[in-house]
């Protein structure tokens, strides 16, 4: 069983053997990401990961054959619907035969070691969820920020930043206000 990065390397070796090249298609990329594999899994054209160790998923040769078969068909310009119809329910032998490979597959150079899985009960229908639930938690209101400005000596202005519309020209506003106040003060003086 191998991790995801090793699966990618392993796939690269097999592709070399099959004579596929990186530049064969600009439109198909050989970079299995967790998200992509998860998507294939939901469609039923890729098995679930064989094993988990914490968050790390482990894959086997069958997973590799399935991904290669998907890529192979994509290279030929098939849509995922057609691929789904062709690959649903294929066995490992079928896949190897299709790709022109023989089983068992040549092993990758560094196969990673997975620890033995924890034993689970055989009667899963009597199993109850066991995760500890966090205490109920209500989200907090964001702290309101008050901008304290001193546009003129002796005058303090408090601005509620929450209520300020986005893109409000604060600088300009303050300048104009200062001018207005100065004018007013100037005008009121005899």
């Amino acid at each position: 069983m191998v991790r995801l990065e090793e699966l990618a390397q392993w796939g690269q070796q097999l592709m070399d053997r099959l004579g596929w090249h990186e530049g064969d298609s600009k439109r198909v990329t050989w970079t299995p990401t967790p998200r992509l594999l998860r998507y294939y899994t939901t469609l039923g054209i890729l098995d679930r990961a064989a094993h988990f160790q914490g968050r790390t998923a482990f894959y086997t040769g069958k997973h590799l054959l399935q991904v290669l078969a998907i890529k192979h068909l994509q290279l030929a310009g098939h849509r995922l619907e057609d691929i789904q119809q062709l690959l649903l329910g294929k066995s490992e032998e079928n896949l190897a035969q299709m790709l022109g490979l023989t089983l068992p597959l040549p092993h990758p150079e560094v196969p990673s070691q997975a620890s033995a899985p924890l034993a689970r009960r055989a009667d899963f229908w009597e199993e109850l969820p066991e995760r500890a639930l966090p205490a109920p938690n209500l989200p907090k209101a964001p702290r309101r920020q008050l901008l304290s400005l001193e546009p003129l000596a002796g005058m303090q202005l408090l601005i509620d930043s929450d209520r300020l519309p986005e893109g409000f020209p604060l600088e300009e506003f303050l300048q104009k206000m200062s001018i207005l106040i100065e004018e007013h003060e100037g005008g009121s003086q005899p």
């Binding site: 995801l4 849509r79 899985p117 689970r120 989200p139």
Partner: protein, 841 residues
Amino acid sequence: MTASPTQLHILNEADYQKYRVPTDLGSFGSLNTASGVLPLQSMDLQGHISGLLYRLKLVQRFYNPYHQPLEATYIFPLPGRAAVSSFVMQTEQRRVLGRLEERGEARRQYQQAVAQGKQAALAEEERSEVFTMTVGNIPPHQFVEVELELHGPLTFADGRAMFRFPLVVAPRYIPGVAYAGEGVGRGVAHDTNAVPDASRISPPVLLPGYPNPVQLSVNIQVDTGGLIFGLPEVSMPDLLCWNEPAGFRMSLRPTADRLDRDLIVRIPLPSPQMQSSFQIANGYYVLNLIPDDLHQLGPQTPRQVVTLLDRSGSMAGWKMVCARRAVGRLIDSLTDRDAFQVLNFDDRIEYLDPRKTSLRWGSDRERYLALESLGKVNDRGGTEILPAIQAGVQMLQGQPDPYLILITDGQVGNESEVLRWIQQNARGIRIFTVGIDTAVNVSLLERIAQVSGGHFTLVNSEEQLDQEMISLRRRINPPLLHQVSIQLTGSESSPAFVDLFQGLAARQMGVVHGQVGHEVEVVGYARDGRAFRNRIPVTHCGGDTIHKMWARERVLELEHGFLAGWRQPAYQPAAIAQFALQHGVLCRFTAFVAVDEQSFVPGTLHQVTQAVSQPAGQEMQKKRALINRPSLGGAPKPQFSAPMMRQAFAPSSPARGGFASFGAAPPAMDAFAAPSGDPFASASDPFAAPAPCLDLDDAEVGYEPAPLMAPEPEPCWEEAPAPAPPPPPPLAQPAPTPSKSVLAGPTSGWKAEVGPDEVQTALLKLRQAVHAGDWELAVQSLIEALVRRGYSLQQLSPLQDLLRRLKAGGTPVAGWLQQTEQWLQTLLNNPGSARADNFWM
């Protein structure tokens, strides 16, 4: 655009032959096939509905298209309250009756038989609505049929009986951290510490373009006592209703084959006919209690209402629009003596307005502000339903009259966690659940409502919403009668007590030892605490339907007790299994197994899990992201009136009214609703429920929020040209005699996509409305349409006033309609003056 020359050597005709299932896939390039590579070939549903009970036979037909023996696994739904009472496996040679065994024993017998090369089948229950059928050693190119017999109840609310038969297990969100090692099932999800059997409830999902070979046939006789009050409404356009002397018969047009939504039939029944009844057969009874007009609503007391709005990725499309509207309706029905709060949740919980974190008084201003911020809520992440319920309950704790409204599709896998928490922590808070989807997780939502003393409302289309919400907001009140129970010596009822809400039937089933007279007495308590007594006549009948239904009801109670962690011996698996075996019903701890001892199938076993369709209306999110097509956010098929045979309903008959109000979608609409043949459908998304986190790459949390977009589509097919935009919506004033298409037009709520037609449609509804209830609805939708076009509620205050008067039961002055239209014209014609963005409000 197609493959470049360098690629062509990779796959040639000879290679391609190797990919094909050798039996009967078409020639090169033609992928459509009669049998396909999936084992499930057809489903057949037959039976009859009588009163509020049904008895059905479901036949699933599996075919092995491979050259080696096949083990087919099919994860499928059945109505949660239906009892499965018998199981038959029909091979091409023999008919084998299934035995009900304790589940571990049944699985052992099955595995042993399959290992010996015998043909065998196993039916198991995972959840109260999710089942697994495993058919082993199907010989190459042969059929095996399995038959299940079901007994179940119909629900009755607001003068309509509802028959519901789910047809697809929708993708569900699986929280928690994945377990190491092999899963316990053949689904696509990993078992996690929150959902230990996730791999048994997650069938692979077919892309929308998949040519689905599953043939569904339906043939159900409905006995309504010769009277039909109106047209039955059905959720599938292809379901036809035929008139018969005692009622009608439903059958499916043979072209329909997609199992992508619940089969729902709402049968209007004349209310004088529907009265409380007590039926007894062989000592097992069912009591249907229907509140009549005698139980008047008391004075309105102040309520505290917290609404939880599910905004997870699975809610994309029409469901989100529907959910927002539902919340809007609820807020609007509050008075200024009530207090409310709205929490949006996906994998985060947010307030509608982040600055208002406590309960808000339902004053006009607060409600308007809430409605305005509601429009910004869109679908986003994964469905973490439990933290949201926890937050809602915490907020309501200690309030005098608390209600929690949960608006969701319920597509989660951790039902037992949710139910366990609610049963242990949410005492005294009534939870009303609203399920919005074409394939809702009813068993969860119904159970939440039941254990907390609330009620479950099913909304399977946008058309259904308004009617259901009007009923719902009348029910968010203390029940008319509470703690209602039957007074019978030597009887044992499940549930022990029921609450009676306005317009809703309540059901109690049980067993009685001893004789029953001509009448039984029912006792309950009214709102003011006074005792209420009533006598109900007894009807004797035969058959074992009531017995099986009661056993199922009791088993569900026991199972939920087990899941809630109750320690009493009756709630332990062995005791539940023994009870189910004694009464012959399938449950979580029993299973049906059928083994054909005389068969022998040589060869190595090939295993296939049946992939299922995506629920209708869920495949739209990716497309919406790609192109801006106005109708994509819209509803899937609206509610259809079943086309009845014409001689039954002469054109002059009042039943014709049904066509006008629930007009069928015109063919033009179907083009947008049906995903097949759409080039963009191929890039469909990984829907809402992601597998639990798979890899190191998605770091910190124990789950990954549902991706909103598909993983970057593997760009392997040519870019299809964007489909031509649909014809523009009718801009002009609607004609005086409108066609149905205007009525059934898309009522989508995407802000950018709303055209003038929505306002016009609402106005048209207003003109056509004939009584106060319709006016109220029409004015409401007009306001909503205008708000979506950017008018603020302050500008719409004349309409709001009108609505308020209508709701208070007042009659508007003569000529109000003309006035309203004039006012609306001015508003629409002077957009500049009427629309101002008031930042400083």
